[in-house]
Amino acid sequence: MNAEVYAVIAIPFAAAAILAMLPGYRLTAALNVLASFLTLLAGLNLLRTPAAADLYLIIDHVNIVFIVLNTLVGFTAAWFSASYIGHEIETGRVSTLAVRFYHAMYQAMMGAMTVALLANNVGLMWVGLELATLITVVMVGLYRTPEAIEAAWKYFILGSVGISLAFFGVILTYLAGQAALGEGMPAMSWTLLHANAARLDVPLLNLAFIFLLIGYGTKVGLAPLHAWLPDAHSEGPTPISAVLSGLLLNVALYALLRFKMLITASPDALRPGPILITMGLVSLLFAAFMLYQRRDIKRLFAYSSIEHMGLITFAFGMGGPLANFAGLLHMTMHSLTKSAIFFAVGHIAQAKGTQRIADIRGLSVTHPGLAVGLGLGVLAIAGLPPFGVFMSEFLILTTTFARQPWLAVIAAFALVVAFAALLLRLQGMLYGPASEPSHAVKASSLPFVLHLILVLLAGLFLPSALVAWFQRAAEFLG
């Protein structure tokens, strides 16, 4: 495996080590951005490298997009967090010590996620994912408010149990592979397993899939395993919320997808479609209804993340070239859009000095910039053109209706319910007479502008390379 690939992993971890030693939040913040930028460059660099795989790492059409996406959002989130954390320190919500530790953790988390994405080894993938989870747990607790600690503790417990179940799934996968590939490392290498899918021990594989579904499903935030997600999003610092929604959920889903590919490739294993469809629809409906009762702006969008993860899972459950393609597209679009929304929300919460939706009114009067950012973001996430989410939802719903009309009706119902809730809150926040207090806030608009531009472009035009990757991956997903 060539150096470019290692670079993507090495840079963040090295940066984490350095940042852990450096004092002063301005410097560390700057370094944090720099490191993320370097990672982004390394990630983009991977676009040129040919697909390759060894026993530990892999770079192919399935994960390349997510790696680039990861590094990109990592960079923008770091950029955003620089200004955000600056404001937090000025208002004294966090201590400088905590911040120092925060930046180190940030890089470590990015590294861990990249490992999970690059891993060709079911064990290694597990390690990366769990490492990322644990780090985010600590960061969620950063503010040390009772709410934050409650959220972190819950995340911690549920996450760890998820970890354990996922690990048992890994063991089972190994045993399933052992029948075909003999003892030792090869039986854990994804490529080899996938190549010999026909000869795997099917019952064990099925059992493994269940454990992995529950284990990683907890990370994806599928109902009823979602409980940690809303609070972790809303009580932690906003950059982390953005990374959680934008990346960690994706990574977990990506892990699930790898296993789905595996189980699809083995002819007489169970068909995961119905299970995924059920979990997806349940999450979708549940989240849609939960949106109405939300009083906290970040929790609102956390639930919307659950909703979209549900939709994506549903799409992959439907399967077929179109639905899978749409699912992959939706993953990308959602992570870009949702993180953009969280960027806007972070500044809005700072501008209004609260996260209570009821206390945020008339933004379009007081903070036009933020209002536009939030408005476009929400319209985009609600699947309205000209943004990319519209395309993916278009594909998902049309193809579903052509095959299973009733499922499409249920999904559409849930989407409309969710849309109504989001729109209601959006109008309340953007329009009407402005609410007091409202401070000026030096928002770094670059991150969400960048994201929205990307989403907008995707809505109009997808580069052929991306399409090709997604189509190949879609075939694999069956």
């Binding site: 269940i210 009823p224 939960m290 109405y292 053109p385 109504a420």
Partner: protein, 672 residues
């Protein structure tokens, strides 16, 4: 190398102009706002010319851009049907933009309106030329979003916020339905381009499913009952020239979607497809007017009357389907022509009326009947033009409203030719309902005009009203002229429609010059029916002037101004004149008691009491309560229940997780 001979290139230019106007006004803000309306005027002019040329030459050109859906791309097609609706849209845009240009440059120049106005115009044009499902829905949804933003223009008003919310939610429901429709038409393989859909023939079951989806999808945007509820909320809330666009034009775009899918894409119709259209349409035509005739808000009344006209159009389309499905092509042509004619004409007089309402609002700052009156003295020009619109929408000859009405009745007269008993039964019923709605429309607009423009002013604002600026007047003038001309020269318009009817039902009406005079209208053949508006107009004008002259000649021309006859109780207060509610009281008693279970409570103080007597009217909007209020309540209730899950203890969450695991494991143990 672009050649502007290609109509699509010209449409691209139009859309480009509008899009850039949007971009510039949005980015530069107040400084750039002035350019929005001029650009819209230029663009719509080009578009009108283009559409007209395409319609008359009956050409059809296509284009294909390598963006949009992968492997499908964006496809565009401009044929006679698109051109026809393009005419409707762009004439409306032209008038509205002209009116907007006349708006007070300081106060009403708003960064919340201009950018979206241009974008709105652009999206409507794109919908009309879209030739694949993605392009269609993309622009369709964009159309909803931009108009939503326009409704929110005066966002301080809580009513406007509520209206816009209801509107966009309804729109998204519609979009979902259309997604289903196109999903069904495209099939699992995802053949999203219209050309393929045209080529394929669908099994009846699927086609029926698609039809239902289309009815919901386009109906929710066109405002067919019971999906109309957003319309009387949203249209009044928007700035008046935007209301004119939404009511006069956007609803027609929805009709276009319906025609495009049902007549063009699905393929050969089955007779029972017509039933939902006919029944819903007829019910809407009457029901909406019952709302309108009892309502107390000028713009809301206009919105309800839009709903009514949509109903009439639906009836026409339904009859066309029925006739076509039973092989009566010439009758189908008559019905379809009636529907299309109504589309065009309604867009004219409804825009005119909304602009007039805008003028009233602009002059008095009031929309409620209780605060208007006597404006014919203060703003004579507007009053005259509004009168034209009011008479036209009441389907009174020789104005244009009557032409489409007449054709529709002609097509109903072909009802006995149906072989299907159901249709034979339906047509006279529909005929009766249409007749009722025509009469109700007359009553409704006599009421509107009488209350708003005639009589004595009911509020100081109305008493101090001033005539609108010249440009607004010009916009209304243009539309009024169109209404009159459309009434007199309907035959010409119908001749222009021939290509479309040829394309959709494969038949056309008897052409020009087959009647007694070149301009007389003939539905089937000379023996069966003729209507000659110009002759009648000349006739009436002649006899009216002749009589007037004669009478003035013989009579002594003395005219004395005196106070109105007051029955011996001199009371100058305008409160003594008939109010809107008192005007509609007989109608309320006759129709309202059944439709809205309306009731009156009279609180009559006993002699000696000083408090005033009080009469309160109670009306119930059953549709709203049953189909909008109830689901909303239910939704909130469910979400409250579900919200318990936000506040469980960690242990319980673990139980949930564990439960899921065990459930799956048991499933596995049992089945695999």
């Amino acid at each position: 190398m672009v050649d502007f001979a290609d109509p699509l290139i010209r449409m691209a230019l139009v859309i480009g102009l509008l899009g850039s106007a949007t971009a510039v006004t949005a980015l530069l803000g107040r400084r750039a706002l002035v350019i929005a309306y001029p650009v819209c005027i230029v663009a719509s002019t080009i578009a009108v010319v283009t559409d007209l040329s395409v319609l008359l030459a009956n050409t059809s050109s296509t284009a294909h851009l390598p963006i949009g859906l992968p492997t499908i791309g964006l496809r565009f097609r401009l044929d006679a049907l698109s051109a026809l609706f393009g005419l409707v849209v762009n004439l409306g845009v032209f008038a509205a933009a002209l009116y907007g240009l006349g708006l007070d440059r300081q106060s009403e120049l708003s960064p919340r309106v201009e950018p979206f106005f241009a974008a709105f115009a652009a999206t409507m044009n794109v919908v009309l030329i879209a030739d694949d499902a993605f392009a269609f829905l993309f622009s369709w949804e964009l159309m909803s979003v931009t108009s939503w933003a326009l409704v929110l223009a005066n966002h301080e008003d809580a009513e406007a916020r509520r209206a816009s919310h209801v509107y966009l939610v309804m729109a998204s429901i519609g979009t979902m339905a259309l997604l289903f429709a196109f999903g069904g038409l495209a099939g699992p393989a995802g053949a999203y381009d219209f050309a393929t859909m045209r080529a394929t023939t669908f099994p009846p079951a699927l086609a029926g499913l698609v039809l239902v989806a289309v009815l919901v999808g386009t109906g929710s945007k066109a405002g067919i009952m019971p999906l109309h509820a957003w319309l009387p909320l949203a249209h009044p809330a928007a700035p008046s020239h935007v209301s004119a666009l939404m009511s006069g034009v956007m609803t027609k775009v929805a009709i276009y979607g319906l025609i495009r899918i049902v007549f063009d894409l699905i393929g050969a119709p089955i007779w029972w497809w017509s039933l939902p259209l006919i029944i819903l349409g007829a019910a809407t035509a009457v029901g909406a007017l019952l709302y309108a005739v009892l309502d107390e808000d000028l713009k809301r009344v206009l919105a309800y009357s839009t709903v009514e006209n949509i109903g009439i159009i639906y009836v026409g389309l339904g009859l066309a389907i029925a006739f076509k499905a039973t092989g009566l092509d010439s009758a189908a042509a008559v019905a379809l022509t009636a529907a299309l004619l109504h589309v065009i004409y309604h867009s004219w007089y409804k825009s005119l009326l909304f602009l007039g309402a805008g003028a009233v609002l602009h002059a008095t700052g009031r929309r409620d009947f209780a605060g208007l009156g006597g404006l014919i003295h203060r703003m004579p020009k507007t009053a005259a033009l509004f009168l034209v619109g009011a008479l036209a929408i009441s389907a009174l000859p020789p104005l244009n409203g009557f032409v489409s009405e007449w054709l529709l009745f002609q097509s109903i007269l072909a009802g006995p030719q149906f072989s299907e008993p159901v249709l034979r039964f339906m047509t006279p019923v529909v005929g009766g309902l249409l007749a009722l709605s025509a009469a109700l429309a007359a009553a409704c607009f006599v009421r509107v005009y009488g209350i708003v423009f005639l009589g004595r002013p009911r509020s100081p604002e109305a008493a101090a009203a001033r005539e609108v600026p010249r440009l607004q007047y010009a916009a209304m003038m243009m539309l009024a002229a169109l209404c009159v001309a459309g009434g007199l020269f309907g035959a010409l318009v119908i001749a222009a429609l021939a290509p479309v009817t040829e394309q959709l039902v494969g038949a056309r009406l008897p052409g020009l010059g087959t009647g007694p005079t070149p301009l007389s209208l003939i539905a089937f053949d000379l023996a069966r029916s003729t209507y000659d508006a110009p002759t009648i107009a000349v006739f009436v004008a002649f006899s009216a002037t002749a009589t007037a002259l004669l009478v003035h000649w013989v009579s002594n021309r003395r005219t004395r101004r005196a106070p109105a006859w007051d029955c011996g109780f001199p009371d100058p207060s305008p409160m003594t004149q008939y109010s809107a509610s008192s005007f509609s009281q007989p109608l309320r008693r006759v129709y309202g008691t059944t439709a809205f279970s309306a009731s009156e409570e009279v609180d009559m103080p006993t002699p000696g009491e000083t408090r005033p007597a009080r009469l309160t009217v109670v009306q119930v909007d059953h549709i709203w309560n049953a189909l909008y209020e109830l689901p909303a309540i239910w939704l909130i209730a469910v979400s409250r229940r579900a919200n318990v899950l936000q506040f469980l203890t960690i242990r319980r969450y673990l139980v949930l997780m564990f439960g899921a695991l065990i459930a799956f494991l048991i499933l596995k143990a049992v089945w695999l």
